[in-house]
């Protein structure tokens, strides 16, 4: 394995398909299955996901849960085939392992659009999946948890079930064909039940029974039904332990003051911080210091007292310089790729009166409600880490590097997180905690970010702008040339993780190049803005900006053509799934035939459809223009996935994705001044509050086809549908995110 693995690691590009130097893997390497990481005493681990001893059943759910319901979803998939009831097992994210390599995330990381199912794109995906397997890359993100788990976890459950049947058959002499399973037991023909827990020790002695067929959806008892999420009870009683709640004996608490410009420190004046009550030590970390104290508040107070002179940023210090760089990026040099070209745009634009418009979307922080935290204990040549992270192996490796110990000497315990939205892809908080712990061996260190430090250190989403030129004729859109220039959050993150990034980034135009319309002459081109402030994936990644740019431009052209925004979209749409979605939406929102319900004069409605992460999602938003500002009244959402695994959680994710899209579109941005983010806390970037939140009516369509995740797709259409609704209500086009620069909201 040695050589292939080394080469792969060195040249793997998570965000891109190209592999420098070629990878020496053949069928043999790819076929090899990573070792099962589970070690079980007095019991059995059947596959890396099912662990059963005489004392109980544990399902391993390696996709980390930060609120999206990943643990519950993964457990449901296993339990469906293993015939377990909710309450008969516990879930555990397990330790990071190559056995949990993500089979689905490759889909969005090849330089093809996710809805491109041509053979080159599919081949590239297969190739990248091979690399992911070789590297054993475990990832939570990119709405990939459901696609990655759907087949393999049901198969894990079925394998365990059939293995227990084989053990029961051997023990009782009853042929396997006469056995069935129910509620955690193998059931004999006379109705006697043999609990799996009683069979576990014997099951360890036989080879797991491989299963070819999985149950048909019509036979499901858990999947597709409304179930009560396993974590709701401990979350509503305050008993669930998040990363920030971890307590260890002898633990000390650390708080950071680190250069918000991401460079070093010129001068530090401690101003008595070391002598403040409760403070144990002040230690240097990359870019600043950490105060270690007996509790978090002592640490935060002392850290605030310290005065710094920081080095300047390496990126432009002022926000207007960032915008200038974005706007200077529509050049041949910075052209990343033309992702779509139907017809002949150049000629079509020459033949008509060109309509021009452009939009922009600023940086936004992630700001999940639980501030970043990590607990690290370094002891001798071993380390242990407790934190929530989307790339647990990278977190493990980062700690190993800082502690100067081998990676497999680092035990990483993934924790429940109070939200992530991409925030926990970056390693800074883990690295800083490890830097403190390395200097205080034997003492567990909990590093907790203050909200201000969380904002200051956040690597926000990409910044970007668009230039659209279009022509309308005879009441229809004839041509659209859409150019999108953004920084590449993929490139920024991948490089911070230590890999090169050389290929075009499909995320720059994600959701725009996949627009479902047949426009006679259509071109979508991505331009890569050189890295400015470092950025990271942010819920729905490129689609939040590209989807906004595309659907506002389309709406403006439809208006110029004198057509109805819904009817014209329906007329133009050619992708069958998108058509089903938009037709469902038109019916739900009573906008089917020109609209039976005409809004009042101060009301307006807007529509947008964006296909991101393989899920066409459309929204109609209704607003009222009041004297106090825009009020968002109702949102209708339709989307299509392959299979809805848990309807109630599906709906909650959709509604949450809409509010996420709307709240940030209304009032959230990160702007830089003197190299640092100006926004420090929720009062600067509030998102949506309950009194502003509209009613959201959801319809999920099931195609029965390729299974997709729903974490991200509901976000991108929200902002353009809102902008289009505001135009309908007020006549004002809002072409910038956030919108509060141009309109007031209630």
């Amino acid at each position: 394995m040695g050589r292939a693995k080394t080469i792969t690691r060195r040249s793997l590009l998570i965000g891109s398909f190209a592999v420098a130097g070629g990878v020496a893997f053949g069928g043999y390497k790819l076929a090899q299955t990573p070792e099962n990481p589970l070690a079980v005493k007095d019991g059995v681990a059947i596959t890396p996901w099912v662990k059963i001893t005489k004392d109980g059943i544990t399902l391993i759910t390696p996709h980390v849960d930060f609120g999206q319901g990943a643990y519950h979803m993964q457990a449901l998939l296993i339990a469906e085939e293993l015939d377990l009831e909710l309450g008969q097992f516990t879930v555990d994210p397990g330790l990071p392992s190559a056995a949990y390599w993500n089979t689905a995330v490759a889909d969005e990381n090849v330089p093809f659009q996710i809805d491109d199912d041509g053979w080159i794109a599919e081949g590239a995906r297969l190739g990248l999946q091979g690399i992911f397997k070789l590297a054993g890359l475990q990832v939570t993100g990119g709405s990939s948890s459901v696609p990655d788990s759907f087949e393999k976890l049901r198969r894990a459950g079925a394998t365990a079930r059939e293995t227990f049947k084989a053990v029961a058959s051997e023990r009782t002499g009853v042929p396997v064909a006469k056995l069935h399973t129910r509620s955690g037991s193998v059931i004999l023909p006379d109705g006697t039940g043999l609990p799996y827990t009683d069979l576990a020790a014997d099951a360890a002695d036989i080879e797991p029974v491989q299963v070819d067929d999985l149950r048909a959806p019509s036979d499901w008892t858990l999947l597709g039904k409304n179930t009560e999420r396993l974590d709701i009870l401990p979350k509503s009683t305050g008993t669930l332990s998040y990363g920030i709640d971890v307590q260890l004996p002898g633990m000390l608490h650390a708080s950071l003051r680190v250069n918000p410009r991401r460079t070093g420190v010129r001068r530090i004046k401690l101003r008595g911080a070391k002598e403040m009550r409760g403070v144990e030590r002040v230690v240097h970390v990359t870019g600043g210091v950490a105060v270690v104290a007996r509790n978090t508040w002592y640490a935060i107070e002392a850290a605030r007292a310290i005065e710094f002179v920081f080095e300047p940023a390496t990126y432009p210090a002022e926000q207007r310089e960032h915008w200038a760089e974005v706007k200077a990026s529509f050049t041949r040099d910075r052209r990343d790729r033309t992702w779509r070209h139907d017809g002949d745009v150049e000629t079509a634009l020459k033949k008509g009166d060109v309509i021009e418009q452009g939009c922009q979307a600023g940086y936004v922080a992630h700001a999940p409600l639980e501030p970043l935290s990590a607990v690290v204990l370094v002891q001798g040549d071993r380390a242990e880490v407790w934190a929530g992270h989307q790339l647990p192996q990278f977190a493990q490796r980062a700690v190993a590097k800082i502690a100067g110990i081998p990676t497999d000497h680092v035990t990483f315990h993934n924790q429940y997180s109070g939200g992530s939205f991409g925030h926990r892809f970056d390693l800074g908080f883990i690295e800083r905690a490890a830097e403190v712990a390395r200097q205080m061996p034997g003492t567990p260190i909990k590093l907790t970010y203050s909200r201000e430090e969380d904002f200051a250190q956040d690597n926000p989403r990409q910044i970007g702008a668009s230039r659209a030129r279009g022509v309308v004729r005879d009441g229809r859109i004839e041509a659209l040339d859409l150019k999108i220039a953004t920084t590449s959050s993929t490139q920024s993150l991948v490089r911070r993780l230590g890999f090169p990034f050389v290929t075009p980034d499909p995320q720059i135009v994600h959701g725009a190049s996949s627009m479902p319309y047949a426009i006679p002459h259509l071109r979508v081109t991505g331009y890569k803005v050189p890295e400015l402030a470092p950025s990271t994936y942010w819920r729905s990644v490129g689609a939040v900006s590209a989807g906004f740019f595309a659907e506002v431009a389309i709406d403006e052209l439809i208006h110029a053509a004198g057509a109805d925004p819904m009817q014209e979209r329906l007329r133009m749409i050619e992708d069958p799934a998108s058509r089903r979605v938009l037709e469902a939406l038109a019916e739900m929102s009573d906008w089917a035939d020109g609209g039976a319900a005409h809004p009042a004069p101060n009301q307006g409605r807007g529509v947008a459809i964006v296909n991101s992460f393989g899920v066409p999602t459309a929204q109609v938003i209704e607003v009222t223009h009041t004297q106090a500002g825009i009020r968002i009244d109702r949102v209708f959402v339709a989307c299509e996935v392959g299979t809805i695994i848990d309807p109630v959680n599906f709906e909650n994710n959709v509604q949450g994705g809409v509010i996420w899209g709307l709240g940030h579109a209304m009032n959230c941005e990160i702007t830089f001044s003197d190299g640092a983010a100006m926004q420090q806390n929720y009062y600067d970037a509030e998102g949506m509050r309950m009194h502003q939140a509209p009613e959201i009516i959801v319809r999920g369509l099931e195609s029965g086809g390729k299974v997709r995740g729903i974490g991200e797709p509901p976000t991108p259409p929200a902002a353009p549908a809102l902008s289009n609704a505001i135009f309908a209500a007020t006549g004002q086009r809002v072409r910038e995110l956030p919108m509060y620069h141009h309109v007031d909201f209630i």
């Binding site: 609120g67 319901g69 979350k235 978090t296 639980e370 909650n652 509050r689």
Partner: protein, 160 residues
Amino acid sequence: MAEVAMTVNGAPVSAEVEGRTLLVEFLREGLGLTGTHVGCDTSQCGACVVQVNGMAVKSCTMFACEAEGAAVTTIEGMAGPDGTLGPIQAAFQEHHGLQCGFCTPGMVMSAASLLADVPKPSEAQVRTYLEGNLCRCTGYQNIVRAVMAASGQAVEERSQ
């Protein structure tokens, strides 16, 4: 240092604390009641709401000493001694009123204060009363539904 004594979830507690110890810090790190969360340290987010003598208070804005002699209730005190969920907790469960759940304790405690004052609130009253509680994950809709249901009012079925 000062001696502070109060009742927390029905049990008397007393401890030596420094004058500037915040109530939330006393609860979380002093008493190990980590169900009360801190999201912002600046009373923006409401994750730290507890009840002090029946009033909803953001515990990051109050010193422990100010709660001297008071009856403090946290999320851990909302279920019965036998583990039976309180009506608001049960409604959050029934109506799926959370995702990451980090805001949930504050939501439940704020809702409890609302329902103590206004036993049958309108939906608009719920939304206005809870506007100081920030949720970053859900669509808010199921939270509102849960509070309405907890007040004994009928709530419409989910749209799916």
